[in-house]
Amino acid sequence: MIQIQLVNTALSSLRRNLMRSMLTTLGIIIGISAVIIMFALGEGAQKKVEQQIEALGTNLLMVKSSSVSAGGAKGAAGNVQKLTLDDVAALKREIPQIVAAGTSVNAQAQVVWGNENWNTRIEGINLDVLSAHHWEIQAGRTFSEQEMKSAAKVAIIGETVAEELFGIASMAVGETIRINKIPILVIGLLKGKGEDMRGSDLDDTVMLPFSTAVRRVIGGNSKYQDRIKRITVQVDDPSNMDWVAAEIENVIKQRHRVADDEPSPVRVMNLSQMMETRAEASQVFSSLLAGVAGVSLLVGGIGVMNIMLVTVTERTREIGLRLAVGAKPADIRNQFLIESVVLCLVGALLGLALSVLALIIAGPLFGWEMVLPTNIMLLSVAGTAVIGIGFGYYPARKAANLDPIEALRYE
């Protein structure tokens, strides 16, 4: 009963100083909006990185042939190493922990269907590429072993290419496209993956069997013949990554007859680890941003304390009167605590509304990836109530401890 009346008293005194109350609240509004927007963007960035990791595949090692400097003293003329499909097959055969060893050659080319044409990436792949990079077929089918061996003129295409050429992606399967004037039958449509970490469109691709690409489409120039720049290796378990990386170097060295003390013909990189590092970096960055936003909320809280101290001083006589007519110190304390909590909560709710509005309007406008963090929203509103009590307590206690006589005489 008395508490309800205290709330009414607090509300009406806030209303009496409306301008001041609003300005004080503004500090909280800005603080809360900053926290929520920063968290939303941080979580958005995090989600994007996670999607990229998912798109890339998991437990991946990248094997690259070392670049041999042409003028280098060590690089004898005949020593330039190149990786071959046989190397890929050997890796898979000799290291059982390797689940998939994907490799591809690629080139840019014009793809033509009817009157439409589109410049895209042409990839000659082995079948492991699809599993290592988590590619899925959404329509049609994948290459058969027979097609892989016989350099069949078949292709699986990405969503972007399908849409550009056919308008409707699902029409692609069964049509014949031309690449460098060679007719090729589209047998499958890849499920879309979006962008990779550099922002290039993964779906803007046409995949051919490795043999087809090398022998018929982009291998016209003998320089390309059967020459592999990189192999993507998927390992069965994250704990085997380092061991497999070392083993790959050994196998390649043996096959290419490179002595142990000579420089390795290949470099093996842990792609998954690189991605995780990136994810961690983005996490640290968003935590930093949220921290800065938290500081602005703290400053807002100090603003509330400041204005509450001013209010207590201004209303010293009123406090004296209330004490004289029978208010207990706790009643006075609660009245001022309620005022500061109300200031903070109103600020929190307005800040919440503002940040949601800002995210909904500005998000798509600036292309921000964002996730509305429901738990953070609830947490920050609850946190603000705590700020209201925390920063309101000192002024409220100061008011409650006033001596009624002194307070009544205060000018």
């Binding site: 205290l6 009496r16 209330r322 004289a324 007519v325 029978g326 207990k328 001596d403 009624p404």
Partner: protein
């Protein structure tokens, strides 16, 4: 006649640089229920301090104060607040009304600190306003009322908890003579209805309304008529 307030060897002093200043020195005083008492004395005589002690707004350095049979020595701030809330009404020289707050709300304010679910707060406040003759001004804020009307609102506020004792510190000090007289007539009426009224004043014409006057000089009760 029962005793409303009694002081026994009541002394009070304020700490000063290099010692303390004795304001009241061994005051012995009994005020009967239903009495109207005026406390007079020059400025600095300690009459306001005596008033504040009687109203339980401060606690004496030495001596005992009994309010309506209750010993106040050793009471906590909360207990003193409750005692004031239930039994003592205050009227101040400067009215001390809440600005930008209606007469009705000003009068109703003390009820909030003395909650009683069976009571109709609004009704009781309006009744008190009618008692002081301001039933038709309930919605007015202090700056819309004259000085005399403001003091009437303050008196209504002092009455709202139906106290047995009414303490008034220079209640006419901020009013002109005519309005002051009207206020004193009101106090007299309230006294006749059974409320013990104690007022501090330095004007003999005001003190003349009281049944009894005491003079405070240099911290001592000097004469009682």
């Amino acid at each position: 006649m029962s005793i409303a307030l009694s002081c026994h060897d009541l002394s009070h002093s304020f700490p000063m640089a290099g010692g303390s200043l004795t304001v009241l020195d061994n005051i012995n005083l009994e005020i009967e229920t239903g009495e109207m008492l005026a406390i007079m004395g020059p400025s600095g005589s300690g009459k306001s301090t005596l008033m504040n002690l009687l109203g339980c707004l401060m606690t004496p350095v030495k001596g005992r104060l009994t309010v309506l049979g209750q010993q106040t020595a050793g009471m906590s701030r909360e207990q003193l607040a409750e005692l004031r809330s239930q039994h003592i009404g205050f009227v101040f020289q400067q009215f001390n009304l809440l600005a930008r707050t209606s007469a009705q709300d000003n009068v109703q304010m003390p009820l909030m600190y003395n909650p009683d679910p069976t009571r109709d707060d609004e009704q009781q406040a309006r009744h008190c306003l009618e008692m002081v003759g301001l039933g038709d001004r309930a919605g007015h804020t202090p700056n819309q009322l004259s000085g005399g009307q403001q003091q009437r609102v303050a008196i209504a506020r002092a009455l709202v908890n139906q106290p047995k004792i009414l303490l008034a510190d220079e209640p006419t000090g901020a009013l002109d003579t005519k309005t002051g007289k009207e206020i004193m007539v009101l106090f007299k009426e309230l006294n006749r209805s059974g409320i013990t009224v104690i007022l501090v004043t330095h004007e003999p014409e005001i003190a003349a309304y009281a049944d009894r006057t005491i003079m405070v000089r240099d911290g001592k009760v000097e004469s009682a008529t």
